[in-house]
Amino acid sequence: MSTIKALVVDDSKIMRSAVKRALNNLMLADFDYVEAKDGEDALEKFNEEEIEIMFVDWNMPNMTGVEFSQAVREQGHDHIPIIMVTAEKSMGKVDKALNEGGANEYITKPFTADKMHKAISDYFDDDGNIAGGSDGDDDEDKSFFKGILNS
């Protein structure tokens, strides 16, 4: 099993630990974590490391998670999965993260192991490598979500 370099961005150290613990428990891959405390810190670390997947909070000082995601996409990194893990739940926020921020998935806090697994399992193959991404139920969920947002 190869090691996946994952960036975990949250201004709460406790929350970063919770995300890492959840990911470890899912055993989808062997992770090497890089942590960042806000969007600015994340962008700096993103440009220093070979990040393969990102778990990003929204509401942080200095630079929000969506601003960070937009910056990553503007650099042309369209293939790296961005998973928003946030307390923001309004449909407008979900819409903004997915459509303007370029996030691939949206997980609301507090999350369960099931919720995390459902959102990210399609991004890993059986050998623990990053796969092509969501192409099953999650896409249907996202389409459903976007359908609601657009209606």
Partner: protein, 165 residues
């Protein structure tokens, strides 16, 4: 929902209180993994030995302030269920935890109050730890005090509606 000028209100509109109460149930039943009850008689006027988590949901006109008063024993229980271990009450991590819980509550509140026409965004949370703490608001804006309890936890929520500066 059109909110009157704050000085014309003697209490927070029931629709807003109802949505916030629903958010408390959504958030804490999920975190605690146990049934939560609204305690009718809880007035929250006694001094607190614990942590207060502060967060707001605001727009350009109005601000909903949420002050979660969490007794020490409940804070310790929150740490066990949220991160799987009991954090030292005096640690920075405990403040971080209560801030994060306040943030999660505010996210749910922001989404819920939108249903009754209050469109706002949540602030970053803060946490204050101490003993013999008493909550009070200057200028007496419309306020609703609520108490909640589950098998292993109890806490108070003070909700205040004020004009945004």
């Amino acid at each position: 929902m059109e909110l009157a000028q704050i000085e014309e209100l003697d209490q927070i509109p029931a629709e807003l209180v109802g949505q916030v109460k629903e958010s408390v149930f959504n958030t804490f039943e999920s975190i605690l993994g146990e049934e939560l009850e609204y305690v009718e008689e809880g007035n929250g006027d006694g001094p607190l030995n614990g942590i207060i988590g502060n967060v707001t949901v605001f727009n350009s006109d109005h601000t909903i302030s949420l002050m979660l008063a969490i007794p020490k024993d409940t804070a310790l229980f929150f740490s066990k269920v949220f991160i799987g271990m009991e954090l030292p009450f005096e640690s920075d991590d405990m403040g971080d935890l209560v801030g994060e819980i306040s943030n999660i509550l505010a996210g749910d509140v922001a989404a819920n109050v939108e249903k009754v026409g209050f469109r706002g965004q949540s602030s970053l949370p803060t946490a204050t730890r101490g003993s013999d703490l008493t909550l009070f608001m200057p200028n007496k804006p419309p306020t609703k005090k609520m108490k909640f309890a589950s098998e292993n936890a109890e806490f108070l929520l003070t909700m205040v509606l004020s004009e945004s500066n």
